[in-house]
């Protein structure tokens, strides 16, 4: 299954793109996706935190990604 990941802030700079398509096995979890991304983009490991949002909500590590989900990588936030 192909997952499209949107990226903001420093994650976009690290990806070199505001969206990224990655291949994943069916029933892939957020944890697996994060591990794959960190392996492919080691600079993500240097960040204070990296989270995944699915359909505009913070996702648990065990959450399964479904086809059609809106997946966003969330580097450390700094609003305010």
């Amino acid at each position: 299954m192909e997952i499209e990941i949107m990226a903001f802030g420093i994650a976009r700079d690290i990806f070199g793109a505001s969206a990224l398509k990655v291949q994943a096995v069916e029933n892939s979890t957020v944890k697996q996706l994060l591990e794959d991304l960190k392996n492919q983009y080691p600079k993500l490991q240097e960040l204070r935190s990296v989270a995944i949002a699915i359909n505009t909500e913070y996702a648990d590590l065990e959450q399964v990604i479904k086809p059609g989900d809106e997946v966003v990588i969330i580097p450390p936030v700094a609003g305010g």
């Binding site: 802030g9 960040l47 505009t56 909500e57 936030v77 609003g79 305010g80």
Partner: protein
């Protein structure tokens, strides 16, 4: 609805927030106003660029306002956040809370800004004369 959440590409207005929260039932209103500082750790800042994952940022700001209404007797809650390019001194965020008694307004407003900084997907890049950095990205 007693909650006003806005993510704006245009300058924020404190007066607008005050007019919106001020109700006849509330004696105490606390506003937090966050502005762009001219320096960070002694290094002069030229400008700030804010960007947001907008639908989620609005949703997370709404959650904060709803939690405020649950935990404190707040009549009205405003959270306005700016996105885009901001010059030094411009307002990045306004949070306003109106409650019957002032102690609750202080506590609720402080909770709201503390939580906003932890959970709302907004990022800011500080632009210096000689470079730029995503704020708080690294430990």
């Amino acid at each position: 609805m007693a909650i006003d959440i806005q993510l704006l590409h245009t300058p924020l207005s404190l007066q607008h927030c005050q007019d919106w929260v001020a109700g006849a039932a509330c004696g105490g209103i606390v506003h937090f106003v966050g502005t762009v500082r001219e320096q960070t750790g002694g290094r002069p800042v030229s400008r700030l660029d804010f960007e947001a994952y907008e639908p989620m940022a609005v949703s997370e700001m709404r959650k904060i306002a709803e939690t405020v209404k649950k935990r404190w007797p707040a009549e009205r809650v405003v959270i306005h956040h700016r996105v885009g390019k901001l010059e030094i001194g411009e307002i990045a965020v306004i949070i306003a809370v109106a409650t019957p008694h002032r102690v609750d307004a202080f506590a609720a407003c402080q909770y709201a800004i503390d939580t906003l900084k932890q959970t709302v997907p907004i990022w800011k890049k500080e632009i210096f004369t000689d470079g730029e950095v995503w704020v708080a990205a690294h430990p």
